[in-house]
């Protein structure tokens, strides 16, 4: 993955300014950047209809009977006679009102298809995010504290394996081992009800988590090692503070900031991984829907899921930036990063 390891270097001069307004300004500005990004993404998503080879009407119509009345309806709905940008305007307006069009495979509103599928994906993502953060931070911390030992090397190696083996390969492996050979976990379906669902989604969540966890392990480990070497940690030790206090108030807390900033990467990893994992484990989630729609060239559905995924990633990034601002006083109080 790409090193978005943020600098936590304590450089720079303090700009002494009030804290209140600067946070508001920062968040406002960050939101203001997000909106054009969302628009750009929506534009790309809209353009899919036209990027797709062939007649856009065909793309939107799918295999439905192409009698003149239906064709006319499609043309009218998507304003295909208008210039490209005008079409986009109309489409965007519909999207803003919560209308993503109609799936070509069943005349159903894309929004309601997505609504049906959303639950599984959210459950899966939350579960594996919990795993990624919980296990990832734990492993990263253990590796940092046992730096240079076999345990450290084993953890680092595990991370490298995780990031190197595609989620679907891990998935097939887990499925075969725990589902088929050991019968510990069910091998298909998302389950019904909370506990049953958690039970069914355990293997998929692990497969997903393993492929993403490396990022968190790597960053936590690096940040922790960096923190352990910091002057203020040495100073805290020199003052005789307890190791618990040093761990929690100094090392862990400070090294979590870069982990938070990596949340964007984690979310991208989970979204992408969910696609493969849902396919591997036959889960009726958004990822499987996307792949299915691609295989059937169901453009409206592809547009819907892509827009949703991208918007989600954008919003998480926004949230991460805001959280980051709140938890790191250096930014909250408006320090100049140099």
């Amino acid at each position: 993955m790409h090193g978005a390891t943020p600098s936590t270097g304590s450089t720079a001069i303090s700009g002494r300014s009030g804290d209140g307004p600067s946070l508001v300004i920062f968040v406002t500005r960050r939101v203001a950047i997000t909106i054009p990004l969302l628009l750009l993404i929506s534009f790309g998503v809209f353009a899919l209809v036209h990027i797709a080879p062939g007649d856009p009407v065909r793309s939107l119509l799918g295999a439905r009977a192409s009698d003149p009345a239906t064709l006319a309806a499609i043309r009218a709905r998507y304003h295909l006679e208008d210039p490209f940008l005008v079409q986009y305007g109309y489409w965007l307006w519909q999207v803003i009102r919560g209308d993503l069009g109609v799936s070509i495979q069943g005349n159903r509103a894309v929004t309601s298809i997505i609504a049906d599928r959303l639950g599984v994906t959210i459950f899966l993502s939350l579960m594996s995010t919990t795993l990624v953060l919980g296990l990832g931070i734990l492993l990263g911390a253990v590796a940092a504290f046992r730096r240079g030992t076999r345990l450290d090397r084993a953890i680092v190696m595990f991370g490298v394996f995780g990031i190197s083996s595609p989620a679907f390969v891990t998935g097939i492996f887990l499925l075969y081992l725990f589902g088929v050979l050991l019968h510990w976990f069910p091998i298909f379906g998302p389950g019904r009800g909370f506990l049953d669902r958690a039970w069914h989604l355990t293997l998929p969540a692990f497969a997903l988590a393993i492929s993403v966890m490396a990022i968190v392990v790597k960053i936590t480990r690096a940040a922790m090692i960096e923190e352990l070497d910091r002057d203020y940690v040495t100073f805290a030790r020199a003052r005789g503070l307890s190791s618990r206090r040093i761990l929690f108030a100094y090392v862990l807390r400070n090294s979590l900031i870069p982990v938070v900033t990596a949340a964007g990467l984690v979310v991208v990893g989970i979204v992408a991984g969910a696609i493969y994992v849902e396919v591997t484990f036959s889960l009726p989630g958004l990822g499987a829907l996307t792949v299915d729609a691609i295989q059937k060239r169901d453009i409206p559905t592809i547009q819907g899921t892509t827009l949703l995924f991208s918007a989600f990633v954008l919003l998480v990034n926004l949230a991460v930036d805001v959280i980051y601002t709140v938890i790191d006083p250096r930014i909250r109080f408006g320090r100049v990063e140099s």
């Binding site: 304590s10 700009g15 003052r239 790191d328 006083p329």
Partner: protein, 615 residues
């Protein structure tokens, strides 16, 4: 070492370090060291970089970095520290022995309010169980270190100045009232005036608490000014130990003498600084000889046949020089000569047309959220051909910005710069020919010797580029031209093939000077060119500057915070304070008789030795 007489009425020294040897894996960092600290005593461990002084301090406190280990015995008030478990040691740290570190900006947890650093030290104590009791105590503790502004406790560390941070850290280190404080270069990272305040504060606190203090420093002058005894550490070995006053008066080891002599005096301009040749070796490379032998004028074969032991000369004096009795006479003579050296009269530059003329220069940076930050406000100055001018100021005074404006690295917001009569305020707006002429007139030497050379280029490549690819270069670089450049800065032609990584700081700075000289400039802007160098090397480079000035009729704009350095190298100085020139005049006048309150403060903050110069 047990010969040191304890103060009457006390039972033995507070801290006893015996045979402390530090190593990085199998690579030794120090030979076995012995240190004694009496109750209420202040000692200094003095050494240049690589001497192992900081690690010695950390070994005493039991907080060596991972991978570094120590053997020997450290006894604090009868308790053998090195045999204690980490959990036991933790109870001693902070409450009996505490430590203060060098960089005030990195010593405090950036995510914790400054008051909490003191607060967290108090939590274990029953009388401070309540938050309010602790808050009161934090206030009291901050007051002790001179912070009366109650708001400081609530601020984040990055909102405080370096001096403030150092005070907060001191209060935190002292929060459990330790009997021993180890201060590792507590003032080095601070501005000159703040340095003096922090040292004063340390002394006051030490006296009031009757606390023992170990001061780790590279600054002999500072050590002599506040410590009772001095330990001189060099390449991992103790070379000399003794009463501060005695050592200063009559050093027994050639190294100590060299250090003393190479330190430029602030009050006079000496004809030539006494430099120690070469640079500090690694401890591992000098295991079986006197560490200083290679740089010593008196070294004989005997110095290289084994590590000379630290031997007692009288009750309070120790030296590791085995030829001490033979050479002491010469040492004394040199010392006396230096003290009585006749001040050199600086040569005055001609008063004809100025080489560089700056008028009404203003530089504003765009700060956070578009707020302008004024680095330089209306500065005017001039430099005559062949003249060496000092620009003195602390960090944030705008002195570096001014220098960068002169060589076109920054474009001033307003004002004029004329170099050789060419308007050179905005390099982008200049005609190409003019730009080439200005570039060939004015060059710059930078502060950090470690990044002043491209690590991927050999010395020859760097100089070759300056000769052949710089603005207006007409002829290609040849090996001869490179060799002659190297010769100008006192390096042999063999250096051309070397890479920066294999050079010492002083050598790099020489190469950087040679590179600047490649275009035969009339003036060099030198931005703190020696401040990152070890004292013994600093003198070499300063001598080189002086030599080059005479040889090539160079002008200098010498930017520095160090009055002693400007004293040695400049004829006239400008004092820059918060972007404005507050005082200007001949160097001896400004330092000898400062007018502006800021200049006075600056001059007053220099640690003075007890010994007065012979009139």
């Amino acid at each position: 070492m047990n010969a040191v007489v304890g103060r009457a009425g006390q039972e033995g020294p507070l801290l006893k370090v015996e045979g402390l040897a530090i190593s990085d894996g199998a690579v030794p960092i120090t030979t076995p060291l012995n240190i004694v600290v009496e109750r209420g005593e202040t000692i200094a461990i003095v050494g240049e970089s690589g001497s192992g002084k900081s690690l010695t301090a950390r070994a005493i406190a039991g907080i060596l970095p991972p991978g570094i280990n120590a053997t020997g015995a450290v006894t604090l008030d009868g308790v053998p520290l090195m045999r204690l478990a980490e959990s036991e040691l933790r109870k001693i740290r902070g409450s009996r022995m505490s430590m203060l570190m060098q960089d005030p900006f990195t010593m405090l947890n950036p995510l914790m309010r400054s008051g909490d650093h003191i607060d967290e030290m108090l939590r274990d104590r029953p009388e401070f169980a309540s938050r309010f009791a602790r808050a009161d105590e934090v206030k009291r503790r901050l007051a002790e270190v001179g912070i009366v502004d109650e708001d400081v406790a609530r601020r984040m560390p990055f909102q405080l100045s370096g001096g403030m941070c150092q005070r907060v850290a001191l209060a935190a280190a002292l929060a459990r009232d330790p009997e021993l404080l180890i201060a590792d270069e507590p003032s080095t990272a601070l501005d000159v005036t703040t340095q003096a305040e922090i040292i004063k504060l340390l002394r006051r606190v030490q006296r009031e608490r009757h606390m023992s203090l170990i001061l780790i420093t590279h600054n002999l002058r500072l050590a002599f000014s506040i410590c009772q005894r001095v330990y001189v550490l060099y390449a991992g070995s103790m070379l000399e130990v003794g009463d501060a006053a005695a050592v200063e008066r009559q050093p027994f080891h050639p190294y100590t003498l060299g250090l003393l002599l190479s330190e430029p005096p602030v009050d006079i301009r000496v004809p030539r600084l006494v430099a120690i040749r070469g640079s500090v070796p690694r401890a591992a490379d000098v295991l079986d000889s006197c560490g200083f032998a290679d740089r010593c004028d008196w070294a004989k074969q005997i110095c290289r046949t084994g590590k000379p032991p630290l031997t007692a000369l009288d009750a309070s004096r120790f030296t590791a020089c085995i030829r001490q009795d033979e050479i002491q006479g010469e040492l004394d003579a040199l010392r006396t000569a230096a003290l009585s050296a006749a001040p050199m009269t600086p040569r005055r530059g001609e008063t004809a047309g100025a080489l560089v003329r700056v008028h009404g220069l203003v530089k504003t940076f765009v700060g956070e959220r578009g707020r302008p930050i004024c680095a330089i406000k209306d500065v005017s100055l001039h430099i005559m051909p062949g003249e060496s001018v000092g620009l003195v100021g602390e960090s944030g005074s705008g002195k570096t910005t001014l220098g960068r404006c002169l060589v076109g690295l920054e474009t001033p917001t307003a004002g004029d710069i004329h170099v050789n009569g060419i308007a050179a305020a905005d390099f982008d707006a200049m005609a190409k020919a003019d730009r080439v002429r200005v570039r060939r007139t004015i060059q710059m030497i930078f502060q950090d010797p470690f990044s002043t050379l491209n690590p991927r280029h050999s010395v020859g490549q760097a100089l070759g580029e300056a000769l052949g690819a710089s603005a207006g270069a007409t002829s290609p670089a040849t090996a001869e031209r490179i060799a002659s450049l190297l010769a100008k800065v006192g390096l042999s032609a063999a250096y051309a093939t070397r890479r920066p990584a294999s050079l010492s700081g002083g050598e790099r700075q020489r190469v950087a000077i040679a590179r600047a000289l490649a275009v035969k400039p009339a003036i060099l802007v030198c931005d703190e060119p020696v401040s990152a160098l070890d004292l013994s090397v600093q003198a070499q480079v300063l001598n080189l500057f002086r030599h080059l000035q005479v040889e090539h009729e160079l002008s200098y704009l010498f930017i520095t915070h160090d009055l002693a350095v400007v004293r040695q190298i400049t004829e006239r100085i400008y004092v820059l304070y918060l972007g404005e020139i507050v005082e200007e005049g001949p160097t001896e006048r400004v330092i000898g008789n400062p007018q502006h309150p800021y200049t006075r403060r600056l001059v007053a903050s220099i640690p003075r030795s007890a010994i007065q110069r012979a009139p």
